[in-house]
């Protein structure tokens, strides 16, 4: 008892990896891990360049894909006014062809929305309610999220996928970056990284090997005392069969056109 206490204290003082880490070290890339561990304190401003490099490699890979289709299972903590956390589940589907075609679908128990973008207009459709709205859209996917958000208050699902690998990837906001270690996600070998930026902690699991795709993400909101999380698990198809029709909205019978209440001009 006494000895184990001393050992634990010594380990703590020396900044040696705890047992969980040494276990992982046997499997993981040794040099990098030792380097991260000798840094010891994971305070703000502690950035592992390898973690940033992994992010950039993933971004470059994503950017290099002309067509993508991804299915995302989501879990979102919503905080009620009394502080209670409720977790809502959903599925998002996204298909895109660079530079100017995108289709997305967000399905939850409570809501179902479809997005159609063809480089000229964006249509938001609610299949259950039968309402759709069409607005002019910028000619590139990468500018779509901004316009939708600023003007219409609409958040494009999975917008991050189109920021990574660009000069707006947000890497400069990262205050801390660590390589957590290997992890298996849905049978895939991934490497887990954890980042801190103002108001947000986030983790990403990037597939190892020739296709460095994000396979899982966890976002932790720090502004909120109960620190709600948004979890995404991603399944990828890099050779989807998109036709021109996939991105065009054809109003189903009975669908009614409505307008947006613009949040700003």
């Amino acid at each position: 008892m006494r000895w184990s206490f001393v050992v634990v204290a010594a380990v703590g003082l020396l900044g040696l990896p705890s047992s969980g880490w040494s276990q992982q070290e046997k499997q993981g890339p040794p040099q990098q891990k030792v380097k991260a561990d000798t840094k010891h304190k994971e305070t703000d401003g502690d950035i592992d360049p390898a973690a940033i490099a992994a992010l950039e490699k993933m971004g470059a890979f994503l950017r290099g894909q002309q067509t993508i289709a991804v299915r995302v299972e989501t879990e979102t903590d919503e905080v009620l006014d009394n502080g209670q956390k409720i977790q809502l589940n959903g599925t998002s589907l996204l298909s895109a062809r660079r530079p100017d075609r995108l289709r997305a679908e967000v399905i939850s128990d409570r809501k179902h929305r479809q997005f159609f973008y063809d480089g000229k207009t964006l249509t938001l459709y609610s299949p259950r309610l039968g309402y759709y709205a069409t607005v002019p859209a910028p000619p590139r996917i990468r500018d779509l999220a901004d316009v939708l958000s600023k003007r219409y208050g609409v958040e494009l699902p999975l917008a991050d996928l189109f920021y990574w690998g660009t000069n707006r990837s947000g890497v400069d906001r990262i205050r801390s970056a660590i390589d957590v270690g290997p992890s298996r996600i849905d049978g895939a070998d991934t490497e887990q990284y954890a980042f801190r930026q103002p108001d947000l902690d986030w983790q990403i699991w990037i597939e190892r090997g020739p296709k460095p795709l994000p396979r899982k993400l966890v976002l932790t909101t720090l502004k909120e005392p109960s620190q709600p999380q948004h979890v995404m698990k991603l399944t990828w198809d890099l050779k989807p069969e998109h036709t021109e029709r996939s991105f065009i909205f054809v109003p189903p019978k009975g669908a009614k056109k409505i307008e947006f209440l613009e949040v700003s001009k």
């Binding site: 009394n82 259950r128 609409v154 958040e155 949040v263």
Partner: protein, 135 residues
């Protein structure tokens, strides 16, 4: 009579239960720090059933396409209040009172609920209803 009034009070309480409102603060994007409250507050007054303006919330009760699996109490409370205060033109509600009729006139879709007319609009991805002058 007595029971009815107690029931009415309970319904109002249920209707005003703020606990069902979500703060909408959970970040879902790394690169986009979106503050829906800030964005929408500037231009949209969401006039809720209790005669006070509240900031725009994504609401568990109303951020839905169907309302039938949610407490009826809330809708009933809305109606009760609406009977007292006429809905102001231009105000925005997140859900409609029961028994509305869809009316289409000159290509514009309305919801007629008693003497009040609404136009469905997207506020973000949510369908809300703006009180309009009867066409």
């Amino acid at each position: 009579m007595k029971w009815a009034s107690i029931f009415g009070v309970l319904m109002l309480l249920a209707g005003n239960a703020d606990a069902r409102y979500v703060r909408n603060t959970t970040r879902t994007s790394i690169n986009r720090d979106v503050d829906v409250n800030r964005n929408v507050n500037r231009n949209v007054n969401v006039d809720r059933n209790v005669n006070r303006n509240v900031s725009y919330h994504r609401d568990i009760d109303v951020d839905v396409d169907y309302h039938h699996y949610h407490p009826v109490a809330r809708a009933a409370a809305v109606t009760a209040t609406a009977a007292v205060t006429a809905a102001a033109i231009g105000s925005v509600v997140n859900s409609l009172p029961p028994s509305c009729t869809t009316v289409e006139q000159v290509g514009v879709t309305y919801q007629r609920c008693g003497s009040t007319w609404y136009q469905p609009r997207y506020v973000g991805t949510q369908v809300s209803y703006v009180v309009v002058t009867p066409p």
